[in-house]
Symmetry: C2
């Protein structure tokens, strides 16, 4: 394989090209084999590149796209009304083989809709899923779906479990323990979809399905892959982010109450800062779109530069591991 | 009204009477107007009372019940197979007017099933809901349902919103801001149930419905009452507990790495301990069962003595505020 190219939606995210261009250039400098295509408004991108010294232009293309998908656009608007959006042009590059992955910090719903439309799903997959890693006591846990599919039947959950297991292996987990998120661990617990999905998963050959997991089990590290519908996954992820932010704020407050606690805080807060970063997983790691005929990684809309770099690195791993092809092979064994 | 009696299921919870009897006696000593009925195996309860000096037996009854609902019993088993279970006898006391509330730390599913069977729901209510307070940046937020109903339609969510609003007022919140938990705040976001429930709630007179709230908004304190189905509520609550435990553990680890951090920890950890307690809301506050013809408060199964006392205090507030009657009145206005 020639050196992989990653197509970057340079216009997406809350901070747009002002965050994404420098983050991309930093990755380019750091990883000598990486080639990037920055997709978006050429004059603006050029201006931002000019600010950085020593950019290796031989590994950097700029691809013009005249439109931008706004964070507030509905997926249908992005799909029908913006044929020359940077997000779409980046995905088209993957479809055409001009890039091996697309990374965007833009509108999640639009990215999912455009990804499905442009790249298509793998055979046997009804809906792609979004997967990200949460920190746990034991290390980390891959959670899917994170919001792409708010209504799921048992078959969808089954497909997510298979995809999550293969993707976790790709990311370095050996024989991933796969669990279904539920309100209890006994067989009788849960709604119909979850119970039926469990009975399908118990029969799946080669899958290390360990049964149901509850919300607290996720953070205990009881599973490597946790499967749920996109409604539940989104609520779990965002409430965890909200709680982590609240804890960080309360710790700051605690150490600013009086002189003694302020002095203590001056020493303790740097220790606690790393913890805070670790607790914002969705902000600091990319989320993979699984089940597409191509690699798509979503970076958090409010992501800082280092977070966008994590998303690029994740895309690179998925390219090297040939994730879509591996998923396709595994799905053929299990689904077709 | 004569002094209220609270019927305590003395046998429930992970630690059973060894936790519940002392906790009950401590409450009895602390609140001079409180009368308690300890329901369960008389010899064991008597033995535990004898260990405590100065118990005011004039305000304490012991009511014998020969059976115990196990934490692993299915609701149907508890309902059909154990007519003399302590949980059921306590609920019967409420139905008969011999007690004004029931407090149990036992099997949640069984308590809900028995409560519905023994006390019946209020007119217009299909399903009772379970509500508890979470800590937020702004104070606290009442979340329901927490697991009693894993499948809910829009009508159920609407009923939960009305009940949650009235219950929050009872607990001291003026004109509670009521929100529906969703994967986005725009009108087009979410599943069918949530969208339909929102359109019903927008038309509910006298309800301060503020629209959708996302997971992070819950902890930001953007609403006073947050409504969701029991599947989502249970996952949110338990994953938050799991995350809070993980944070507490990581903070301990952080302060035990080397001599300097251990010394720092010796001073900082007591400060952080209160935070940890605050972050375990379900363990430390009771959860109210709303929509029944009587007051039922569930204490966490793994609750310590002080947590069980919180549950008793919560029951007392609901008795004084006449919560079931207030709910009935409000529901008549809005539902019937």
């Amino acid at each position: 394989m020639s050196a992989p190219v990653i197509a970057i939606d340079a216009m997406g995210g809350d901070f747009g090209p002002h965050c994404i261009v420098p983050a991309s250039l930093a990755c380019l400098a750091e990883i000598p084999s990486l080639h990037l295509a920055l997709v978006g408004q050429t004059p603006l991108i050029e201006k931002l590149i000019d600010r950085q010294p020593g950019v290796d232009r031989a590994r950097l293309q700029i691809v013009h796209a005249s439109e931008v998908v706004a964070m507030s656009d509905r997926p249908a608007q992005a799909l029908r009304g913006k044929p020359d959006a940077s997000m779409r042009v980046a995905l088209e590059m993957v479809r055409q083989g001009r890039a091996q992955a697309c990374v965007s910090a833009g509108n999640t719903g639009a990215l999912m809709a455009l990804s499905r439309y442009v790249l298509k799903t793998l055979p046997g997959i009804d809906r792609p899923a979004m997967m990200a890693a949460l920190p746990t006591r034991a290390g980390s846990c891959h959670l899917l779906d994170l919001g792409a599919n708010v209504d799921c039947n048992a078959e969808h959950l089954y497909q997510f479990a298979v995809m999550g297991s293969v993707a976790a292996e790709t990311l370095g987990v050996r024989r991933p323990r796969v669990a279904l998120l539920n309100v209890g661990t006994e067989e009788i617990k849960g709604n119909q979809q979850v119970k039926l999905a469990a009975s399908l998963l118990r029969q799946a050959p080669g899958l290390n399905f360990i049964g149901f997991i509850e919300g607290d089990g996720v953070y205990r590290g009881d599973a490597d892959v946790v499967v749920c519908d996109g409604f539940v996954g989104n609520i779990l992820l965002k409430s965890s982010e909200g709680l982590a932010e609240m804890v960080a704020e309360k710790i700051r407050d605690l150490f600013s109450r009086n002189l003694a606690s302020r002095l203590l805080g001056a020493v303790a807060l740097p220790l606690l800062r790393s913890l805070r970063e670790e607790l914002k997983p969705a902000t600091h790691n990319g989320a993979s779109f699984l089940g597409l005929q191509g690699v798509v990684v979503k970076s958090h809309g409010g992501a800082a530069e280092d977070a966008f770099q994590s998303a690029i690195r994740r895309a690179l791993v998925e390219i090297h591991e040939n994730l879509p092809q591996r998923l396709h092979g595994r799905l053929e064994d299990l689904l077709l």
